[in-house]
């Protein structure tokens, strides 16, 4: 018998706004002027939050911090499509998604200041605490989606992770199970092309990360992660598909980590300034400003006004964060298990002044 072709596949890539701000009008999502401007404000707020966090870290006012610089569009664009009832499992570099979803800013500073109480999600907000372990929350998201499916709850569950996370066993196992069970999940990879010092080329031999979904039996799409509207559109479609019983989707947001991995890292030791400079030209906020300007929704005065507003919000968040007293030693025994053993009780008493 001759050989035959068993499968061929295509992987789509979505871009809507060109670097000069012109857009493919057929793909621009149906958002109002106010909504488009809200997205702009959230991008500015993310950048302001991030810049302040770096400053606070240098002053010793928060701990090690992973900057989101350059990834604002991938985070705000995706989170803007998420409904209140959907569930979100973030990794550790999605503060832009957090603040888009309305997570209290001072709690984000509180967490990065070394206080886990910052992870206590306000009631009514379906955001799971930040997962610092790489990719280990992918199975959790699949489990939550399975629970929603069994309950007949038509929601979607979103997991965020990075390009490094796609090399983890949790990624393979979680994707495989989500595909097999047809779970309502949307997996969002922020491919910022660097996992600490390891470039994407050393992470995978795949032409794209998006195509990995094909092997698990569901759709994968690559979007320009610095194009906030492309990210929004792809995420909204994937969420609607998931809520409607259409199964999982994998969205690869191709972006770039403009900053160091964390404040404990120095990226200049392993990558060239030319590479970073190249990406500066593709800044997601700059591109979106050009897009808004062409629609009469943006000018320098408006930008200054919004930056001032974001700065004020950040000032207030920092003030609130720094007014929270540190946890009492005995609190570390809270919630360890249902009932403390006699030994733990003793340890708790000894730890409490």
């Amino acid at each position: 018998m001759p050989e035959s072709i068993l499968a061929t596949f295509t992987v789509k890539r979505l871009e809507i706004i060109a670097p000069d701000g012109t857009a493919d009008e057929s793909l621009v999502p149906d958002l109002s002027g106010d909504e488009l401007r809200r997205i702009y404000y959230l991008l500015l707020l993310t950048r302001a939050f991030d810049g302040r966090a770096l400053a606070l870290q240098r002053e010793g006012r928060i701990g090690t911090y992973p900057s989101v610089l350059g990834q604002e569009a991938a985070q705000v664009g995706s989170a803007f499509a998420i409904h209140e009832r959907d569930w979100v499992f973030p990794s550790f570099r999605e503060m832009g998604a957090h603040l888009t979803l309305g997570y209290p800013l001072h709690q984000l500073y509180q967490y990065w200041g070394g206080d886990e109480r910052g992870l206590r999600t306000p009631d009514g907000m379906n955001i799971f605490p930040i997962c610092v372990s790489v990719g280990t929350h992918i199975p959790h998201a699949a489990g939550a989606a399975l629970a929603a499916k069994l309950r007949g709850d038509r929601i979607a569950v979103i997991a965020y992770f990075g390009d490094g996370g796609t090399s983890k066993g949790d990624f393979h196992e979680g994707f495989n199970l989500a595909g097999v069970m047809g779970l309502p999940t949307v997996f969002i990879c922020q491919n910022n092309q660097w996992a600490i010092s390891v470039p994407l080329s050393a992470q995978t031999a795949s032409r794209s990360l998006a195509q990995k979904a094909v092997a698990y039996g569901f759709d994968g799409i690559q979007v320009d992660g610095n194009d906030v509207l492309a990210v929004y559109r792809a995420t909204r479609e994937a969420l609607e598909k998931a809520r409607g019983g259409g199964g999982p989707t994998f969205i690869e947001c191709l972006t770039y980590r403009m900053s160091d991995h964390t404040t404990s890292d120095d990226a200049s030791r392993y990558r060239s300034p030319e590479e970073t400079e190249q990406w500066r030209e593709r800044d997601p906020i700059l591109r979106y400003e050009r897009f808004l300007a062409k629609r009469g929704l943006w000018n320098e005065d408006y930008a200054a006004e919004m930056k001032g507003k974001a700065g004020g919000e950040i000032d207030e968040a920092v003030r609130r964060y720094e007014s929270v007293p540190p946890p009492a030693p005995g609190e570390m025994f809270d919630f360890v298990s249902g009932e403390l053993s006699a030994r733990q009780q003793r340890q708790r008493e000894e730890a409490s002044p």
Binding site: P139, H140, G143, L146, E173, F335, S337
Partner: protein, 328 residues
């Protein structure tokens, strides 16, 4: 009371809890159509359907990980790992997530989940499939560890574990599945986590054991009675929470202790028990605490020498005689 096997008692517990609470689900490798490698999930697919009884891909880390997500999502999953040896593939989810999520997330979420895992040696399954890993889980705060020895405890503890809002590692012994015992008929007869039981009263020496070691300790006690040695056998039933009161009271009464563990001796749980006895019963001890443990070798495949690596009735009895022969 009805007589049934340890396997059927576990099966009954699953059925009763799944009937009682629609949020109880079970999944794992070969648990649905095949009804489990040890047939503990027999009849579940037929009665509860494929929504609640699921076969999963061979992905142990994710079987636990998905259970964590589902538990946070409002279900009460009972995951089956085909054997406890495969729990090693899931240790990241077990130790870094299952054990810590409630604490790290400030108690925002409950984690009502059970991970069932058969284990233990003696079935000639070779070094990688005959391990007793209970100490691994007991070492980590945030996980309850159940180790039933009898059919009644198997049913009562599994029911309590399913109803508990904390994660439980439920360690079943492969050589106990066919053992028989009386099980209460009352469907609300639960065995609380964290309560040891004196399985046999005695006055000369306390034998502290768990899981299959309890059965062997009881057999040793029956032998020793013929020699005039009266053994009290304390069955821990759960290793975490650990009921120290029951065995401390017993050792304070008898003045002698033998602790039996199936696992390796190095850093085994017997050392932990011995240290508690040393701290709490020192003034009452008439002899040093003796440990009976598995040998510190990978389990041999050969049936003849495999036996030598696992505590037997005779090794437990010999340890008791040693403790009794101390002169004062």
């Amino acid at each position: 009371m009805s007589e049934m096997t340890y396997r059927d008692a576990l099966n009954l517990a699953l059925k009763e809890e799944m009937r009682r609470d629609p949020s109880v689900v079970t999944w794992g490798e070969d648990v649905a159509l095949y009804e489990g490698s040890f047939k503990v999930t027999r009849g579940l697919l037929a009665e509860f359907g494929e929504e609640r009884v699921k076969d999963t891909p061979i992905s142990e880390n994710t079987i636990v990980g998905v259970s964590i997500g589902a538990a946070m999502g409002g279900l009460r999953p009972v995951a089956e790992l085909m054997t406890v040896n495969f729990a090693l593939l899931a240790m990241d989810q077990i130790v870094n997530h299952m054990a810590k999520i409630r604490s790290m997330f400030g108690g925002q979420t409950r984690l009502p989940m059970v991970v069932r895992a058969p284990g233990g040696g003696g079935s000639q399954l070779g070094a990688q499939h005959s391990q007793s890993l209970e100490t691994y889980f007991m070492h980590c705060p945030g996980i309850h560890v159940a180790v039933p020895a009898t059919p009644a405890d198997a049913r009562g503890l599994l029911k309590a574990s399913i109803r508990d809002n904390n994660p439980v590692m439920f360690l079943e012994h492969e050589l106990l599945y066919n053992s028989k015992g009386e099980v209460p008929d009352d469907t609300e007869s639960l065995v609380p986590l964290g309560k040891a039981e004196v399985k046999r009263e005695g006055k000369d020496v306390t034998i502290v054991a768990y899981s299959r070691m309890t059965i062997l300790a009881l057999q040793a006690a029956a032998e020793l009675e013929k020699e005039g040695i009266s053994c009290e056998v304390v069955d821990l039933r759960t290793l975490s929470p650990l009921d120290t009161e029951t065995f401390i009271a017993s050792v304070n009464k008898t003045g002698r202790a033998v602790v039996v563990e199936e696992c390796w001796r190095a850093a085994g749980l017997g050392g932990h028990l011995a240290s508690i006895i040393a701290e709490e019963c020192f003034d009452r001890l008439l002899a040093p605490v003796r440990r009976v443990s598995g040998l510190d070798v990978p389990m041999p495949y050969s049936r003849k020498i495999e036996k030598l690596c696992i505590p037997q009735v005779e090794t437990i009895a010999a340890a008791v005689r040693d403790v009794m022969s101390q002169k004062y």
